[in-house]
């Protein structure tokens, strides 16, 4: 299958997190950001993430990503997608609406940009997928599906709106000590409508996704453990309308909606055990990387574009053979452009020593990025 190549040629930052000003030109293959913790390696990945998703991977409050004591921030990227040139501009001023432009044209809806520049981020923060509540795992699914399915994103936004109305109504019933079945049904019908579609999309997505995930995990772990991933939704057993009817008394008591696709979850297992309780750190990390690589393959298939791959500090807790399995894939060229952060320059040199690939290394010190010439690497 031929996928369009996507790559970021140049990144310009002004007042983004700890960067005063930076301009970086990238290799279409591998780019490494090397430096100690806190110097700003991950911030560069986050800036790239911004250009794809219109927001930070780490901090959803835009103004908090502006450099301390400054009034605005700017992120600009020059991308090449197939033959097409894309210039993306993101500007944030304190107290003002975020500006997001594609080739000088401002978006009216940020949601329209999602999916143009597919990207997958692998980060230590992914561990939240294992330990935090189901919301994080739903967001994982939603994030993948929204990148190629606009209708899904719209349904999701509508569903959330209906849900807010319904919850507000349940609260008012309780406050006014009354109940009006007709009013509630209006919102039940709409929850059912949007919810059923979202459920069908999630189910279809996971049907395709789970085999990809298993394959990746098996490669990373060399077949020692059998991974499992299960989509849990009450909609599997009954329509949402039926579920809402059954839950009506309960909903009235607790004053919010207790069933629906906003309660769906993903269950992560190794063999018969949840990885949350029984997985080692290495197993958990492999599990998460496999999830993200499956996401990568899935998005590439759907978008027919090679996504950018951002690997944040992933070598630390992986044992040697897992790292090797991953690097084999990097060297086989099955990825497009890759961005890697690491604290250990020597480790990177070793990893890329016998891989024939264009690799650019940037030393990151106190919010400054310096390109190391290729000659002193891999020699």
């Amino acid at each position: 299958m031929t996928a369009k190549k996507l790559h970021l040629q140049q990144l310009t930052l002004v007042n983004f997190k700890n960067y005063v000003e930076a301009e970086l030109s990238f290799s279409p293959q591998v780019n490494c950001f090397v430096g100690n913790n806190g110097e700003g390696k991950t911030n560069l990945l986050d800036a790239i993430y911004y250009l794809s998703f219109c927001k930070s991977y780490f901090n959803p409050i835009d103004s908090q990503n502006i450099r301390h004591n400054e009034a605005f921030l700017l992120i600009q990227g020059n991308f090449e997608k197939g033959e097409q040139h894309e210039k993306i501009h993101c500007g944030i001023k304190r107290g003002q609406k975020k500006q997001f432009r594609r080739n000088k044209k401002e978006y009216t809806r940020l949601a329209d940009h999602i999916g143009l520049l597919p990207l997958v981020m692998v980060s230590p923060a992914d561990i939240n997928l294992v330990y935090e509540g189901s919301e994080v795992r739903r967001k994982f699914i939603d994030g993948v599906v929204s990148q190629f399915n606009k209708a899904y994103l719209d349904d999701l936004l509508q569903y959330i709106r209906v849900l807010s109305h319904r919850n507000a109504l349940l609260k008012q019933f309780a406050q006014q000590r009354m109940f009006d079945a007709t009013s509630l049904e209006l919102w039940d019908m709409q929850l059912d409508e949007f919810g059923s579609r979202i459920y069908q999309h999630r189910k279809a997505f996971l049907n395709d996704f789970i085999p990809l995930f298993r394959e990746h995990y098996t490669k990373l772990s060399e077949g020692r453990e059998v991974p499992d991933l299960e989509y849990q939704s009450k909609l599997a057993g009954a329509s949402l309308l039926e579920l809402l009817e059954q839950a009506r008394e309960k909903d009235r008591v607790v004053q919010y909606t207790t069933v629906g696709i906003h309660k769906d979850d993903l269950v992560f297992r190794l063999g018969d055990y949840p990885i949350k309780k029984f997985g080692s750190q290495g197993q958990q990390k492999s599990y998460l990387i496999a999830l993200k690589l499956a996401q990568y393959d899935y998005i590439r298939q759907q978008k027919e574009t090679t996504p950018l791959l951002l690997l944040d500090d992933i070598f630390d807790k992986l044992d040697a053979h897992r790292v090797k399995a991953l690097m084999n894939r990097v060297s086989s060229g099955s990825f497009g452009q890759i961005f890697i952060t690491d604290t250990d320059r020597e480790r990177l040199d070793r990893l890329f020593a016998d891989i024939d690939i264009d690799c650019r290394i940037f030393n990151i010190v106190e919010g400054q990025a310096q390109h190391q010439t290729a000659e002193n690497h891999g020699a």
Binding site: V162, H165, A168, Q172, D180, S183, M189, Q190
Partner: protein, 205 residues
């Protein structure tokens, strides 16, 4: 901003309490009034006082008026069989401007939106049902905004009006999608009022 006169300060405060007016603009407006004659300013102020005290709501359609019934409801040449349901009186102005509608109106006063604390009982729905129950109205045209809340209200009205022998229609979809009726241009709005379609009893699009 410290002002030399507390009277000026009060006037500025009042202007600044209006939507979209900041303190700077409020000061400019207040100083402008100071330059005018006392008579002119009295006329200015009295206009608001009289508006607030004397404006009433039409007892039939809930449009604004100064008598028991509004000028539209008093007009014997209008068609009793047609009733157009709108959110507020600005929509009446929009529809009237098209000159394509000769029936009567009913102002709901908003749309159902629990998030904003608006339920069916906060709207003029009971009085609408009563009007339809009188039996003279043959067609009810729903002209609410095409938002989720507008659609929801349409559906609620449809259910409430189902027991009566009355056709329920909507103005053509795609006319005002996402927009409020008052922003739709007159020609398109006029056309869609002429080509209204039977209401489909569904909340899906």
């Amino acid at each position: 901003m410290d002002l030399p006169s507390s009277l000026l300060d009060q006037a500025v405060e009042q202007f600044a309490s209006l939507p979209g007016i900041g303190r700077k603009t409020a000061l400019r407006l207040a100083l402008h009034l100071l330059k005018q004659s006392p008579e002119e300013v009295s006329a200015f102020g009295n206009a608001f006082i009289r508006m607030r005290n004397e404006v009433q709501f039409c007892s039939r359609c809930h449009n604004l008026c100064e008598t028991e019934l509004c000028s539209i409801c008093r007009n014997p040449k209008r068609e009793v069989a047609l009733l157009c349901v709108v959110e507020d009186m600005r929509d009446i102005i929009a529809v009237e401007n098209t000159q394509q509608f000769k029936g009567f109106y009913h102002v709901l006063g908003g749309v159902i939106s629990p998030m904003d604390g608006v339920g069916p009982n906060d709207l003029q729905i009971e009085s609408l049902v009563n009007r339809v129950a009188e039996g003279e109205i043959k067609e009810v045209i729903l002209a609410l905004s095409t938002t989720m809340e507008g659609d929801t209200t349409n559906f609620y009205l449809y259910k409430k009006l189902a027991p009566f022998e009355v056709n329920i229609t909507t103005i053509a979809r795609g006319v005002a999608i996402g927009d409020e009726l008052e922003y739709t241009d007159e020609v398109t709005l006029g056309r869609s009022i002429l080509h209204r379609t039977p209401y489909e009893a569904t909340l899906s699009r």
